[in-house]
Point group: C2
Chain length 227, copies 2
């Protein structure tokens, strides 16, 4: 997946636009943390004056909050919008999970999952920044749970399944993959997370739900065909 | 689980001992991050002179490395030693997982899982500190995998199971529980992680392995008994 436009922001008349600035800010915050995202650091990166940036953002906290919302917009256009093109139920649920792992693996943000990093950085620092991160992550978990419930209502996932438990497990796999990728550069971890999610979906799928998932053990079958 | 002695370090003759200092350092680093752990911050907390601390640790990096190894020692005495009292195989594997979740939930470190926080903080900062964190986490994952393989060798877990995949999933659940606890104060997440691990162990257990796990649906059975 190619990196988004953040690497080469366009210079607008009278300086960079607020949007251009924020795209760069998301990249800095992903790699160096939201606390590392000072107006001075951003000014250096953009070769802009600090006063020019202060015209856009009154304080470091304003800048952090605007950066978080820009990361949220990227997530929506990269993960949620494409998933919502799939039919409601299992197809959408699987697409949400698949795009989500792709979003983190694809290096859309240079420092891995923006929100995993931001949550870990701010979880013990009360304030508006932490609250906004918690709110956005809750929004996402709520969306995952809703997609599970919709799959149950469509008769595609067994109603024995607890949507809260399943969403917790899926979120854990994403965190686990991001963690292994960040710490060890372990690309295979995304495959493990994908496999773990698919295994759960297959196990809980009804017959009609199972037809909406990618076929199991593709590789193994390929080997058998060759023999 | 009561907090360890770090809260009230004993003053040794000629000042605090290196060990006392490091116990306080682990608490600071857990709550405020390893980067927040400066010699100045530690001197204030301990009401010691900076020069007194420099006698113990030559640099901030030395202090960070010594703090990481102190956190590792806590983990060994709180999680690994008790688990190694259990018999090799499924009993030990389950005990490792159970103690691990208890270690994070019990607030032994005031900022949640020390290593999850440290890994997230340093994963994009190359250097000795990052390398040491990665090494310790790898040591732990290796121990989990070994306990799974030993359970297979003891005929207690099906040999169809991939130990690397299962260890990845267990590690993910711990990260997921720690994340939910840190961000939302969600204590229930530990129960979810425990349930997810137990469900997997039960599903892959042989008949002899299953007898070594806690009985399923204890609560539900209790409700039935009351009726």
């Amino acid at each position: 997946m190619p990196r988004t436009g953040a690497a080469e922001p366009v210079k607008a008349k009278g300086g960079r636009t607020r949007q251009n600035i924020l795209e760069v800010a998301v990249d800095i915050a992903s790699a160096e943390g939201l606390e590392g995202l000072t107006i001075g650091r951003l000014a250096t990166q953009l070769a802009m004056s600090k006063s020019g940036l202060f015209a856009h953002f009154g304080s470091k906290e304003d800048l952090q909050l605007a950066t978080i919302d820009t990361a949220r917009s990227r997530f929506i256009s990269d993960v949620i919008r494409p998933a919502f093109e799939a039919e409601i139920g299992m197809a959408r649920l699987w697409k949400l999970c698949e795009r989500w792992l792709g979003h983190v693996q694809g290096g859309v943000c240079s420092g891995g999952c923006f929100f995993a990093a931001a949550a870990s950085e701010f979880d013990s620092r009360p304030g508006q920044v932490r609250d906004r991160i918690a709110e956005i992550m809750n929004e996402w978990l709520g969306m995952l749970r809703k997609a599970i419930i919709e799959s149950q209502q469509a008769g595609q996932i067994s109603t024995d399944v607890d949507p809260i438990q399943l969403a917790f497990e899926f979120n854990s796999f994403e965190l686990g993959a991001n963690w292994a990728f960040q710490l060890y550069g372990d690309q295979q971890a995304f495959g493990r997370a994908r496999e773990a999610i698919l295994e759960r979906l297959r196990r809980h799928a009804t017959r009609s739900g199972a037809t909406l998932l990618p076929p199991a053990d593709k590789q193994r079958r390929r080997v058998r065909t060759k023999r």
